[in-house]
Amino acid sequence: VNFWVLTLLNGLTFSMVLFLMAAGLTLIFGLQNILNLAHGSFYILGAYIVIEVVGWHDSYLLGIFAAMVVVGVLGILVYRLLLQRLGQNHLAQVLLTIGIVFIVEDIALAVWGGNVEVVPAPAPFNGVLTVGAVSYPSYWLLVIVVGLITAGCLALIQDHTRLGAMVRAGVDDPEMAQGMGIPLTLISTAVFGGGAALAALGGALAVPITGVGVGTDFQVLLFALVVIVIGGFGSLRGAFIASILIGVLDSVGRAEFPALDLFAVFLPMVIILAVRPTGLLGRK
């Protein structure tokens, strides 16, 4: 029982990081039909910025804040200056965003080197929490809580604000939404920046747990892509459900058959796509 509780908690921690990655990716795809393979670069930039800020100033909170702001602005620039020019040309989008992945990866290699970088968990959360027979690092629980709060906030914004309504309208039918006077370009810019900031938050939160190194960007991107495919493009709820599914499956896979751990994640995606080609909650 103990083992399964721990495996489940590990999975949920990973799920929350995945959800933060996938949220922006799925919304921007739903809104503008843009396949952004550079989303993993936003994630590692977030992680590296936290490492830098903690190194200078020893403030983890400030680091997270800086990561989200810097990467958010960077996301807006990438969208407005580059991606927007390509229209709906998916192949050119792949070319451009892989180009960005290469550049960011190489800069990271030049600045931070090829080793996996980790920061210790911040002060009040660097201990272990014991409930009954189960002990668990409190920082991991904190990540789960932050992830759930963020997901809750996103759901609130999506369902109960004007902005959320406009985003939903844009995902449902971009042309019609634009025809009704919804400033789709502005909203997409905001969503792209926000999505990049959330990816940075994901990276920033994960760095005390998994660290960040060469190839981390592609690894998280793959998982996030699997999540949005299973959840259905443009669906935040789908992304949330899929994140939990994939996070837990991955954790079980790692614990039970470590050699085939990727297999445990990609097989469900293949099965779900074969049965339901538009993902769990996707409509398009």
Partner: protein, 324 residues
């Protein structure tokens, strides 16, 4: 159009002649680089059948490439078949892998197809690197080399196979079947209402594409005398995808050109600077903005005749007598 095609064929033939003459002038290293470029050219053209002609963007093409490589390696190591037969069967295994892949992936379209192809390739890589007793796991396997004296011979074989494969693929996409594929790519609903079995045509395209990817995969294994899970890596898939997009999808010649360009550029830039990845990244970004439909299509659109037309000839076309 036919004169255009004639000139294209002539240009391709000229390139082949130049490549055939290359060993007489170039040293061992440039030739091994060209060998690699030729292998990737076959690989990129095979992807173009799916991506450019059938409209099926696969970001998991390394699956067929690697599956064929592993099949050839396993046959060469464990059976008493002549080495040549193992390699030929290996290439066919690429087609077989593609058939299985198609059964699953053809349920999806567009971006979903990109992602499921990626996932299938990852799954295969996971299997191969996990199944250590058979595949050697992450360490890979050494393969008995096809006994030719190093440096000489192999390049010519690869060139010959590349030319034959290129011609076969050109015939395939130029055949009525290829035309139907393009029709399906442009308007699936119309093609199916005209009575074409859309699924079957796509299936055939994927299997043919997988077979030629297999040819390239086997050649790479022969070239390296080694096969490992890195042959199945997403970076391989992404690289060949970029070759096709950079060159221009839907043209066959474009992707072959893209394969040469990227292979040689990578070697050149990485010899000059440690930051070659940044340089490549910048090149990709610029290309995406400047030539979103590929270099070949961009060059084709340049009105060469207008630019190179001598100035005097344009004055003669002005209505005579008007000057007087």
């Amino acid at each position: 159009v036919s004169s255009y095609r004639l000139r294209l064929t002539a240009a391709a033939a000229l390139c082949v002649v130049l490549l055939a003459a290359a060993p007489t002038v170039l040293g061992l290293f440039p030739i091994s680089l060209l060998t690699e470029a030729l292998i990737y050219a076959i690989f990129a053209m095979s992807l173009d059948i799916m991506l450019g002609y059938a409209g099926l963007p696969s970001l998991g093409h390394a699956a067929f490439f690697g599956a064929a490589g592993y099949a050839a390696a396993l046959l060469a190591i464990h059976t008493h078949l002549p080495l040549f037969a193992s390699y030929a069967l290996g290439a066919l295994a690429g087609g077989a892998a593609a058939a299985i892949f198609a059964l699953i992936a053809l349920r999806t379209r567009g971006v979903y197809f990109i992602l499921i192809s990626l996932a299938l390739a990852e799954t295969l890589q996971g299997l191969v690197s996990g199944w250590t007793p058979v595949t050697g796991g992450t360490f890979g396997m050494s393969v008995p080399s096809y006994t030719i004296n190093p440096g000489g011979g192999f390049y010519e074989i690869v060139l010959a196979i590349a030319v034959v494969s290129g011609i076969c693929m050109a015939v395939f996409v130029g055949s009525p079947l290829g035309h139907v594929l393009r029709g399906i790519r442009d308007n699936e609903r119309r093609a199916s209402s005209l009575g074409y079995a859309v699924w079957l045509y796509r299936f055939i395209a994927i299997v043919v594409s997988g077979m030629f990817a297999g040819v390239a995969g086997v050649l790479l294994v022969m070239f390296n005398s080694f096969v490992s899970p890195s042959n199945l890596d997403v970076t391989v898939s992404a690289n060949v995808f970029l070759m096709v997009i950079v060159g221009g999808s839907g043209t066959l010649i474009g992707p072959a050109f893209g394969a040469f360009l990227i292979t040689l550029l990578q070697a050149l830039v990485s010899a000059q600077t440690d930051r070659w990845l940044t340089v490549m990244g910048i090149i990709y970004v610029v290309l995406a903005l400047a030539a979103p439909h590929g270099l070949f299509n961009a060059i084709r659109k340049v009105p060469l005749r207008r630019i190179l037309m001598p100035l005097r000839s344009s004055s003669t076309t002005s209505p005579s007598g008007s000057v007087r």
